[in-house]
């Protein structure tokens, strides 16, 4: 047996390379991209540790990569690698199958050296509400505590983060910014990069290329956080209330795993869940509220409009006249139009029908493989109307866009979704207003609550403005 070498006299030409590749991660051998012989001295010296991919837990299994333990999400097969019946985790299959005979490697040596320089290049000015939140964020980062930032849609969340990110990076802390949707990752990436040209910022989402290597800031979908272990000093969770984060407990565990113990945790939301609101009110969770948009204008209040049996109309290849008239008014004024629908089928039908009148109209849905490309077309004003399922209700900002919901009474449009849809409108300083139309076949309490929610925020906002 070879002696255990101390850190001081452990000198390996690939040390830094392997350190940056592996630190804060759980990787399969295939993902490290080095043969086992190269890793062997690191393993012997204790700089790399191995753990089994899965282990028995109670009656079922525990996946050590994604922390899944629901027995319904494991399956067994007769494994040709080990010749036994192997169990594997189906929750994190996207990242490469992890079997009972598989091994996860993680880093146990010194922390990777920061490579970037944190110097904020953003020249803008924070609104009073943003400033208050930014100060609170800096404190939470410094103290390693929790903070809920409850900011109305269009409050300018990204700018609120800048100061805290700079502070963290100056004190050599690594940051994870996580959000449920790939679209939002792609939208945040260029903005954070532009603000911090000296930092290494990586984006991780299904299909992104930047999977490995060191970054000062990782912007990742919540699913992708499963790749990390004990990696981050600051974790910022965007849209904390959104599916799938509030839906899938294993994602919360994955974020916990990615954070170092004692990491600062910042939660951002425009529509906090009941539980979060209660925790905040009871003083269990420090929070700060920004009821006003950064430009100072109130949120547009939605208009409810009855359109009769629109499903029947769609079946007969007809768009309800009220929606048509509204689209006509908007598109002729050059306004980009969002039409939200509740199903993929409706998105396809409505897009086809609207395209007959407005050439270039696009339909998009969550499972659409071309959705990123389509959103880009809409952003570049190559498409007058974007018909979409609720994937775009959050995060995506299109300048000057106005929004309609076709069939706002559908159960998928709960209060949160409807508020988020209204939040797509009037986001820019030059165009702070715009229509939010809930076209419906019967009012629901969700619609009324959404209107009330917006009115309340607006009222609080105008009070806050006078302070």
């Amino acid at each position: 047996m070879s002696p255990i070498q101390g850190d001081a006299d452990f000198n390996h030409p690939s040390y830094n390379e392997i350190c940056t590749r592996l630190a804060g991660r759980d990787l399969l051998l295939e993902e490290i991209g080095e043969p086992l012989e190269v890793l062997l001295p690191f393993l012997q010296a204790g700089h790399i540790v191995m753990r089994p991919g899965l282990s028995k837990s109670g009656k079922g299994w525990l996946c050590h990569r994604c922390l899944e333990s629901d027995p319904g999400l494991f399956a067994a097969f007769s494994c040709a690698r080990c010749g036994q019946v192997c169990t594997y985790c189906r929750t994190c299959l996207e990242m490469g199958r992890i079997d009972t005979c598989g091994v996860l490697f993680s880093w146990n040596g010194r922390a990777p050296l920061p490579e970037g320089t944190a110097s904020l290049q953003w020249q803008g000015e924070l609104s009073p509400g943003q400033q208050k939140a930014s100060n609170a964020l800096c404190r939470a980062v410094a103290d390693g505590t929790e903070l809920l930032i409850w900011a109305v849609c269009g409050a300018g969340k990204t700018e609120i983060l800048f100061r805290g990110i700079e502070d963290a990076c100056l004190s050599r802390r690594r940051i994870l910014l996580t959000t449920p949707r790939a679209e939002v990752v792609m939208e945040l990436l260029p903005r954070i990069r532009a603000a911090f040209p000296g930092l290494i910022v990586k984006g991780l989402y299904g299909g992104s290329e930047e999977r490995f290597g060191y970054a000062d800031i990782h912007i990742a979908t919540t699913h992708q956080t499963r790749r990390f272990r004990d990696a981050f000093d600051v974790v910022i969770i965007d849209e904390i209330d959104a599916f799938p984060f509030s839906y899938d407990p294993s994602l919360k565990q994955a974020v916990d795993k990615a954070a170092k113990s004692g990491a600062a945790r910042i939660y951002l939301t425009a529509t906090p869940s009941r539980l979060l609101k209660k925790q905040a009110r009871d003083g269990k969770l420090p929070f700060i509220q920004i009821p006003r948009r950064y430009h100072g204008y109130p949120l547009p209040v939605p208009t409810l409009k009855w359109i009769g049996n629109w499903k029947k109309a769609l079946k007969k290849d007809r768009i309800p006249p009220a929606l048509l008239a509204w689209c006509e008014k908007k598109t002729s004024a050059g306004v980009p139009v969002f039409v939200f629908v509740s199903s993929v089928e409706q998105a396809e039908t409505a897009a086809r029908l609207l395209a007959e009148k407005w050439e270039g109209t696009i339909g998009v849905h969550a499972a659409d493989p071309r959705r990123h490309e389509k959103i880009q077309l809409f952003r570049n004003k190559k498409a007058p109307i974007l018909v979409t399922t609720t994937i775009l209700e959050r995060g995506v900002t299109i300048k000057g866009a106005e929004a309609a919901v076709l069939g706002a009474e559908e159960s998928i449009f709960d209060e949160k979704a409807l508020v988020q849809i209204a939040g797509r409108v009037g986001r820019s300083k030059d165009q702070p207003e715009g229509d939010v139309m809930y076209f419906h076949y019967g009012k629901t309490s969700a619609m009324l609550e959404a209107v009330r929610h917006i009115q309340t925020m607006n009222k609080q906002g105008s009070n806050a403005h006078g302070e």
């Binding site: 629901d70 319904g72 040709a80 690698r81 299959l93 407990p249």
Partner: protein, 252 residues
């Protein structure tokens, strides 16, 4: 937290109330009605040999009940080595996506999605045949952790037939090796001769995932025929007709 009953494919928890869907869907279906509806079963056997559908593209080449490809195969010895092929599903977008997860991502549990139909067809028409999984190269099987043809064959009751082996493909394929591999003269299959196996008088049902041009199964069939098999048919999950995607091509 207890385990919910989930759809095997989309993994969504199953709503077990008596919804309209619930009433009309199979109670024992491992996938939800939405996922079930994604796949298209092949109903008509337009080509009696390979099961190809008669569509715009293929119709002009049909001669009676044989598609253009099968007419051409009929003129070659290796072509006649295969009695016929039967495929369950159309290899459309949905099937491609399913295969991508099953085979390339490596989710062997998904095999069970088609178990019922698969076993039904076998029971109806092939219960007296000997089942053999189309072998894969040992390297490929190691890499994946399984051979997908074995997963499919293992759903069928009874014993497997062994003895056929496949060579691994060369790692990096230049154009010429690729052409060579596709040529009818390149034979990747061979009999594991140590056991001196003969298949005299046997009817062999060769199981694989996709039937595309039928070249691979015919190469295997011709080895089996030389080893004495009387008839060889192939039983495949999907019938592909269109051009293959790059990924698919690479993996073949």
């Amino acid at each position: 937290m207890g385990s919910k009953r989930r759809c095997l494919y989309c993994m969504e928890p199953r709503q077990e109330q008596l919804s309209w869907h619930g009433l009309i869907s199979r109670a024992d279906d491992p996938v939800c009605p939405d996922c079930r509806a994604l796949f298209t079963m092949l109903m008509s056997r337009d080509c009696r040999i390979c099961g190809r559908e008669k569509d715009e593209q293929s119709a002009p080449f049909f001669q009676d009940t044989r598609c253009g490809d099968c007419v051409a195969w009929g003129e070659k010895d290796i072509g006649r080595a295969l009695d016929h092929n039967i495929s369950l599903y159309r290899y459309d977008k949905a099937m491609q996506q399913w295969m991508a997860r099953w085979k390339y991502r490596g989710d062997p549990a998904l095999t069970a999605v088609f178990q019922k139909e698969w076993v039904q067809i076998w029971r109806r028409s092939y219960a007296s045949w000997k089942v053999m999984a189309l072998p894969a190269g040992p390297g490929r099987t190691q890499e994946r952790g399984f051979n997908q043809a074995v997963l499919l064959a293992d759903m069928l009751p009874g014993d497997r037939l062994n003895g056929l082996e496949k060579k691994d493909e060369p790692k990096k394929q230049s154009k010429s090796t690729k052409n060579q591999r596709e040529s009818l003269f390149y034979q990747p299959f061979y009999m594991n001769n140590q056991e001196k196996i003969r298949f005299n008088g046997e009817k062999i049902l060769l199981v694989d995932d996709i039937y595309t041009t039928g070249t691979t199964v015919r190469k295997a069939a011709s080895v089996l025929r030389s080893a004495g098999a009387e008839r060889v048919a192939s039983f495949t999950l999907a019938r592909s007709t269109g051009t293959l995607s790059r990924k698919e091509e690479k993996a073949q």
